[in-house]
Symmetry: C2
């Protein structure tokens, strides 16, 4: 189990002693997930949090017509869960699955909360992570409200230049909130302009 990535990730905000590091590692479970396989199924109870070591996951909601709406992509070095399901302790509205063959380090909410009590530092870390995530989601909501599809696509390309090549266009369309057909047309418009 290669834990250097997750330890580096954490060390950006807090410093753990050797003992604390050991304790933290003790709650981690290593998991592989093949492309298109689910880490979390819709309607399941959400109990875990994942840190992606390799590959990429996505979380999405499915609406009444069966359309998928992607909330988050989580490539290496990202955290992912269904926070709404996790804190409400109600069945998940989201599905989380692998976009590519992936590897994760996973732990339960239960263990997380237990560690928060033992090590306030760790709660400090996740408070910061959650704040960042909230800020990012705020910005995304504002983009949604104020930009056209073309501008949102531009923004996505600039913010995640490395992800674009790894994702099917259909999923990028779903993330920025348009149909795959429309994104295709939008892209060819952009090419004509240049």
């Amino acid at each position: 189990m290669n834990t250097s990535l997750i330890l580096e990730n954490i060390s950006k905000h807090i410093t753990l002693t050797e003992k604390e590091t050991e304790r933290f590692l003790s709650i981690l479970e290593y998991r592989k997930l093949k492309k298109k396989h689910a880490f979390l199924q819709k309607h399941e109870l959400v109990k875990q949090i994942a840190f992606v070591v390799k590959g990429c996951l996505r979380s999405y909601a499915t609406d009444g017509k069966g359309y998928e709406h992607i909330l988050q992509f989580a490539p290496e070095d990202y955290w992912i869960t269904d926070i709404a399901g996790l804190i409400s302790e109600r069945p998940s509205l989201l599905t989380i699955e692998a976009v590519e063959d992936s590897e994760m380090l996973v732990f339960s909410r239960e263990d997380q909360l237990r560690l928060f009590n033992e090590m306030p530092k760790l709660e400090h870390f996740f408070r910061i992570i959650t704040e960042k995530s909230l800020a990012a989601t705020h910005n995304r909501l504002i983009d949604y409200m104020s930009l056209t599809a073309q501008e949102r696509y531009d923004g996505f390309c600039k913010r995640y230049p490395n992800l674009i090549q790894r994702l099917p266009q259909k999923q990028i369309a779903s993330y920025i909130g348009v149909t795959p057909e429309f994104l295709s047309k939008t892209k060819s418009e952009l090419l004509k302009k240049r």
Copy 2:
């Protein structure tokens, strides 16, 4: 300075000793804000967090065309700030102002972080608050992606039945992400149906 509301709010998640309560209250500043006056101006550095005791605030982004996009309403018993500006320490993209004559308890980020060190419990509290806020914003984003304007309006009415009467329709339109004209038409459609 009436602090019972904020203390009750906090006590839903943590229990403070008398000393801790005193320490917490020591960082609070009481502030009144008249309708339409700003708690935070766009382009200012964000330094404070507010708890609304009376009245109602709103936070919004202004786009290139001068349109406002409301991110949050904060009536009594709600917390509000510009989290993105606060953590990035860059000028705010949001404006926060009073919808009605309001009263708040305000403290600085600096004091907040200082107290987090002194009292891990308080960081615990804000970790929870931030998680809830993130979950709510996720749900809102999904609504945005998957529902029509009419459905979003319905949802708003159901979720905030008491707020509707206090807010100008223009601001509800801005919150659900449509023009005031369109919301007006949407409402009369709804009436015809029933």
